[in-house]
Amino acid sequence: MTRPDLDGTDLRAILDAALSTGGQFSELYVEHRRSRSVAVDDGRVEDLITGLDRGGGVRVVSDGRTAYAFTNLLTRDALLEAARIAAAGVHGTATGGVADLRTVQPPHTHPVAREPSDIDGPGMAEIVTRIDEAARAVDGSVRQVGASYSDTTQEVFLVNSEGHRHEERRVRTRLAARVVAARDDIVQTGLEAPGAAAGLELLERHPPEDVGRRAAERAVLMLDSRPAPAGDMTVVLAPGSGGVLFHEACGHGMEADIVAKGASVYQGRRGDKIGSDLISGVDDATVTNAWGSFGFDDEGTPAQRTVLFERGVCTDYLTDRLRADELGLARSGNARRQSYAHLPIPRMTNTYILPGDDDPDEILRSVQRGLWCEQLGGGQVDPASGDFVFGVAVGWLIEDGQRTHPVRGANLVGDGPAILARVEAVGTDFDVREGICGKDGQGVPAGLGNPTVRIGRITVGGTGE
């Protein structure tokens, strides 16, 4: 188990040493992570990589300042040394000391039906081979297939000076396929990468064959695409495809560290009507087995569901302990870290636009001319202005309420608040995607989800006429 070989006295000594320079709060976070991955590329099974990473970090907080020191030696002496280094980073006057440690159970669990360890190296290789073969079978134009299987089993142990103590085991598995199809001079790529905070049961919901086929079908479809038109137009986001837009253009600006720095376009807007009546969105770490879910966040706050926008009104920010205290807000359970080597910062978990009342088919039929976004590529946002840009990996032109032909090279350019304001219809359907969100050099699993959404107008950058 994760718990370092330390008794209650040792743990108190570490937390005490961290407070020795007058800090208000100290914490020891210990992580033990086993990871495995295998990939197939060009029909060859590549390196099977397995490994153990582990380490412990001591954090001290004093008047909004944070000091952190970590080591991957988990002995009492090494952790005490880390505590002393961290303590040297603050100069406080607190004299509170360390409360009695009590173990807390998580309010939400994400049970694993089938442990990843049920399959061995050859079994993992078989999974990626199945993805590869299914992708190649789709069409003769498929040129390359890259596929991977990965799993991590992360065990977290946390104690803090308020007496909180918990242990949590988080299992995540993921499949990914990247397919390149080519015809004449046109080369297109299709992606599919489902994951879950679960074990091998992921393979039942997303059989490897389906993953390979879906990625290949996207690549092959896009071979028939035309260059996307440029200009302002109505955009319809397909279920699952628009979650990343909401995540980037709205979610990041709701993260309390960005708000506290005055770098968010949503700063000071709580209670303001920003979006259309139709738009409601949440961040929800309690969704059972969802990719971004957990029991406790990475500083011991229980997982929660936080409403970001309620019928267009800007509602609650995503906080960690530090920013909640600074802004006088509740802790929302959004403190996350990539590993023991990182400080917790406010992050999204599973960020969803909630389904509405409109018939998805009717949404499509209602558009005279526009862009249907089946899959968005990566995107980027400047939280200070809300400006964003997104590649449309798989898109269709909509003409007279029909998807007429696929288009490539489209980019969505705009800003978050304007997009929220221009939501004109929200479907009753819903689907999710899984990604890795990067911020401040830390990558964490992030779930994305949305129903069919019609946005009145977005600037589309394209290369066609």
Binding site: A67, Y68, Q144, V389, N411, D415, T459
Partner: protein
């Protein structure tokens, strides 16, 4: 430290059996980062991490296992696991370990012992001074998004059953600050950067002034009307674009049909005054090292000479498939990953024109200071891209109105061919290998904008 690490690696490699190759790579790093905000330290973090990755090759199959537990039992277990993993993969002639080659001394030091003598308080004071200098940089500056000081010392070592045995130590220090600016409801941000081997080499005022100038310049930006105009890339934007170019110049990308440069060796891709270089031995570059992630000596490789493509970047596996020689471009993200293939210090050779003269020579153009979505917006295979951009219009050789929510569309081949002037100002970005760019004037790309912005505030 390096002797201790080498000793552990020797013990692993010494267990190689007949017909088996073993390589052990060890990393021991310490690192400090201080962030300041609003005139005070926001956070300090300090790290010590070390770990070993073991690669086993047998019958042209490879397996990898890493561990941070450096006890003898744990290392033996990692070796056993790497051996088991080596039975799973497909055989490939590229799965071979590097042969030892003589590693020549670098021109200058990678390690400055001064970095380890800086007191924590001085690091804190430096970050605070950077925050202060940036916030005081002008009337439009509304704050900073964390001013950072960071330093690190890394010891890397490698041993293999083929006879590779080497270690090196490198120190790095940096300042990074993002200035936030605001005027009449327009908000912008931009960063400033200073890199060195230790604190003494860093320039607080220059990093602050750079962030302030770049953020202020973008204020009041409006969506431009579409036009085909010369585009001037800021050095950091050039560096980002070169990241896409460099990705296509790795032999692996070519071998896997993922490069727009496949089959183009010997072709004129850019004007004759353009030279693109990858130089792992450039001690002034952030990615400098005497040897690469497989123990092959690093080198200076000219990819584009007089505008003509000369070849590709190799590690041992890609070279084995092409009957070529490794150019010392095996990369290791950490002990947790087997060698990959990446550029080192990859840059455009600076020209003679100072950036101010370059801009003064442009009648009407767009100075592109930020690109958004380059990674998603650029197709690495076709080279087509359409990316979001922000910057300033150039009119009569001077900066005029600011521009936001613009799109630049074109392709990598078109951009390389369209290079008109290479500036004299080389700057490196410290991530993704280390891309170095200059101010760059490029003809023939399209600047597009949407309809005039409505006021959404």
């Amino acid at each position: 430290m390096s002797d201790e690490l080498l000793g552990l690696l020797d013990r692993v490699v010494g267990q190689a059996k007949a017909g088996e190759g073993i390589e052990a790579y060890g990393l021991d790093e310490t690192e400090t980062t201080v962030k300041a905000h609003d005139g005070d330290v926001e956070s300090l973090s300090s790290a010590r991490r070390r770990g070993i990755g073991v690669r086993v090759v047998r019958d042209q199959r490879v397996g990898y296992c890493f561990t941070v537990d450096l006890s003898e039992e744990a290392l033996d277990a990692a070796l056993a696991e790497a051996r088991a993993n080596a039975t799973v993969g497909s055989p490939d002639p590229g799965n071979v370990l590097a042969e030892p080659r003589r590693v020549a001394e670098l021109d200058g030091p990678l390690y400055d012992p001064a970095v380890e003598e800086v007191a924590p308080q001085d690091k804190v004071d430096t970050a605070i001074a950077l925050d202060r200098a940036t916030r005081g940089g002008g009337p439009d500056i509304t704050g900073t998004d964390a001013a950072r000081y960071g330093d690190s010392v890394r010891t890397a070592a490698i041993c293999s059953s083929t006879g590779v045995r080497a270690s090196y130590r490198r120190s790095d220090a940096y300042l990074l600050v993002e200035a936030l600016a605001g005027r009449n409801g327009s908000t912008t941000s931009a960063y400033g950067l200073s890199l060195g081997r230790s604190l003494a080499e860093l320039d607080i005022d220059a990093a602050a002034a750079e962030a302030v100038e770049r953020a202020t310049r973008l204020l009041g930006g409006r969506t431009p009307s579409s036009a085909r105009v010369p585009i001037v890339f800021d050095p950091f934007v050039t560096a980002s674009v070169l990241g896409i170019v460099a990705g296509g110049l790795t032999a692996e990308a070519v071998q896997r049909g993922r490069s727009l440069f496949a089959g183009k060796v010997g072709e004129q891709l850019a004007p004759a005054f353009v030279r693109l270089i990858d130089d792992g031995r450039l001690t002034g570059g952030p990615a400098a090292a005497p040897w690469d992630g497989e123990g092959t000596p690093t080198q200076r490789t000219v990819l584009l000479d007089y505008g003509v493509l000369q070849g590709y970047l190799h590690h041992v596996a890609s070279a084995a498939r092409d009957d070529a020689v490794s150019t010392g471009n095996a990369s290791r993200g950490s002990y947790a990953t087997p060698p990959g293939l990446s550029p080192t210090n990859f840059y455009v050779e600076p020209g003679d024109t100072p950036p101010a003269d370059l801009i003064a020579g442009v009648d009407t153009g767009f100075y592109c200071q930020q690109v958004m979505g380059l990674h998603s917006g650029a197709n690495p295979i076709s080279g087509d891209f359409s990316v979001g951009a922000a910057g300033v219009m150039i009119r009569d050789g001077e900066f005029a109105e600011a521009v936001r929510e613009a799109t630049i569309a074109g392709s990598i081949p078109q951009m390389l061919a369209g290079i008109a002037v290479v500036g004299s100002d080389l700057r490196f970005l410290p991530s993704g290998g280390a891309m170095g760019g200059t101010t760059l004037l490029v003809d023939g790309m399209t600047l597009a904008g949407g309809a005039p912005q409505e006021d959404t505030a």
